[in-house]
Every structure is written in C-alpha cells, then in structure tokens.
C-alpha cells in the first residue's frame, strides 16, 4: 500500500479505537438498563452529538476497512491492479452510504 493509504489506515484506526469503545459501551449500557428500541430512538432523535459521533465513526470505518481488505486480498488471492482498487472504492462507498443512512435515520427517527 502507498504511504498515504498507510497513514490513512493508521489514523482512522486511532479514531476507531475510541469510537468502537464508545459504541460498545453505549450498547452495553442500553441493554443493561433494559431500554427498548423506542426509548433509545427517543433519546437519539435530534441529538446532534450522537449524529456527529456516528458520522465520524462511519467515515473512519469506510476509509479503514477497504484499505485492510485490499491488503488481505492481495496477500491471499491473485487479484491485483485497477479492478481491485475500483472494487475497494466501491466497498468504501457502500460502507459510507449505508452507515451515513443509518446515522441519519437514527437522528431523524
């Protein structure tokens, strides 16, 4: 991978380390408290902090995951070249669209 991809993957890893911990902590807290989906959505609706947090999470994941997936595919399959890079851009776009859509849905629900 190029040095810039390397920096992007390591940089997003730092963001994800915090974001995943907060995300899992939030899930554990919500489940332990016995919150229902309706109650959770009631709290997240219109909550700008939640919206910004999950947008950052999604963008970091959409950058981080395809770079790692590209390395794995290059090591374990003969797939190389522009088709691989194009497919990884598509994976990044998919993660971005699905993730931002979900974050927006929770925000406006």
């Amino acid at each position: 991978m190029s040095p810039l991809l390397y920096v992007a993957q390591r940089g997003t890893a730092v963001i994800l380390a915090v974001a995943v911990a907060v995300h899992l902590g939030t899930i554990l807290y919500a489940v332990r408290g016995g919150l229902t989906a309706g109650e959770i959505l009631g709290r997240t609706q219109g909550n700008l902090a939640f919206f910004v947090f999950y947008n950052v999470f999604v963008v970091a994941a959409a950058i981080h995951a395809p770079i790692g997936l590209r390395s794995i595919l290059r090591e374990w399959t003969p797939w190389r070249g522009r088709s691989l890079d194009g497919a990884m851009l598509a994976v990044a776009a998919l993660l971005l669209v699905l993730g931002l859509h979900a974050a927006l849905a929770v925000y406006v629900a």
Binding site: M1, S2, P3, L4, L5, Y6, V7, S71, E75
Partner: protein, 261 residues
C-alpha cells in the same frame, strides 16, 4: 547493537558429546528426504555434520558455505524447521531425539538439495536502493558524523547484516506476497536512510514504499526472532514506515496546500 557472541567454556553442554553417540540426519534432496547417520563429536556444528556427510558418505550432496565462522552468510539452512546459520549452530543445541532435519531456506528457489538461488534476495536488495548514493558531485571534505548522533546509532543497529537470508526465509509476508522486499533489503535501506552523506533519499523512500515495501510488514517479528546477528529488522522497517509517511505527507501537503505566490 549486536548481542555479544558468548564464549564457550568446557562446561558448556553444547560442546561435549557422549562417546559413541550417533546422530540421525534427514536431508531434503530433490526426490524427498534421505537419512544419514553421523558420529557425534565435541563442539560439532550443523555445518560440520553436512560437510562430513558430503565428504564421507555422499559427494553428490549440494550445499553452500565459505568462511565457517559466521561472517560470510553463505551456509544458512532450515534446521529442524527453523532457519539458522549452520556454521555457528551447535548440534547439541538444536538436535531433537538425536536427530536433525535439514532443508533448504524457505522463500527462495532451490538449486539443488540444500543450496538455494539467492538472486531474488539480492535483486530485492538492489530494488530497495541498497547501495550508497554519493550524488552528482563528491563532498569537498570528509563528512563529520558524531558516533552518538541518533542517525549514526540507527545505522549501527542494522549495519552488521551479513545477508545470510535467514530473516527472508523466516518472513511469512515474503511467502504470501512475492513482491515484498523482505527484512534484509529494508534493513539495509534503513541504514542508508540514516546515512547523512547519502544523496538518494527521495528515490530510496519511494522504492521502499508501496505494495512490496515496508508498509506491507505485519510486524510478526520473525526476522528479529531468527536473525543470527541479533539485529532487529522489524524496528528498521518501523523506522522506514515513519520516514515514508513523513515524506508522503510533506509531498501531499506541498501539492495540495501550498499557497500560490
């Protein structure tokens, strides 16, 4: 820095061999494994065993050695599944149940029996810009390099590589990705990146980046674990990751954020 090579004493258990003891040696040949029996001797090295077999039992056995004292890097083989320099490996230290299994180094084409073709190894060394680049014009005077400067210390840490290929054979990333330059070539590049006299740094940092470069290292540390000279190519590669990242970010910034005059 190198670990000091321990001085053997008579109490060293790797020196003495039981009288009349024998060693069973399985050697990978072109058509599978062949077994030989060799007498155990005091302070016997794995290279001694191979030499005895070749001279007294089977002159067709192919292997490579030169200095016999751990300087030339010619005699590396896979001994009981681990890559080692055989001239400095005592049989008593590595034999399992009075047996040795010898194979050629991994990740390199086999020429015959225990001899491998080192050309891909040295091609990558060259591809990583492993030669000193003096620039177009020689310096007017000797460069003054303080022995305790961070650059000189970084060079010292990796300069004793003898290119034996042990780290290259130990590296799983080389197995998975044949384009990967490997620990020895990257370690060499790192010593030159820290050479303040060198004038080829941009090209070198470019050469050690990319899908075959330092960023592909998984930090398994097999190279550092197996290096017979106790060098740490993993840390050299980590240094290259930092240097290439800095250089790429600088170029990226200059390209996209430089103010127009």
């Amino acid at each position: 820095m190198n670990a000091p090579v321990p001085t053997a004493s008579l109490a060293d258990p790797t020196i003495e061999a039981a009288p009349y003891a024998t060693l069973t040696v399985r050697i990978r040949r072109d058509d599978g494994f062949q077994a030989f029996t060799v007498a155990r001797r005091p302070a016997q090295t794995v290279l001694d065993v191979v030499t005895e077999i070749q001279r007294e039992q089977d002159p067709t056995l192919a292997y490579r050695f030169a200095c016999r004292v751990g300087m030339c890097g010619s005699c590396a083989m896979t001994v009981n599944g681990r890559p080692r320099w055989t001239c400095r490996t005592r049989v008593a230290a590595v034999a399992e149940n009075d047996g040795l299994t010898l194979e050629p180094l991994r990740n390199l084409p086999v020429v015959k029996d225990l001899a491998v073709d080192m050309e891909p190894f040295f091609q990558k060394w060259t591809a990583a810009h492993g030669a000193f680049e003096p620039g177009a014009a020689p310096l007017d005077d000797f460069a003054v390099v303080a022995p305790d400067s961070p650059e000189r210390r970084a060079v010292d840490a990796g300069i004793e590589c003898i290119n034996c290929g042990v780290c290259y054979a130990a590296c799983d990333v080389v197995t998975w990705n044949p384009d990967y330059l490997g620990p020895a070539a990257l370690n060499r590049a790192w010593t030159l990146v820290n050479d303040v006299r060198d004038r080829g740094q941009d090209a070198r940092l470019e050469a050690v980046s990319g899908d075959g470069g330092c960023q592909s290292c998984h930090t398994h540390m097999s190279c550092t674990e197996h290096c017979p000279k106790a060098l740490a190519p993993t840390f050299a590669i980590a240094g290259l990751k930092r240097a290439t990242s800095r250089s790429a970010l600088k170029r990226f910034g200059a390209r996209h954020f430089r103010r127009s005059a």
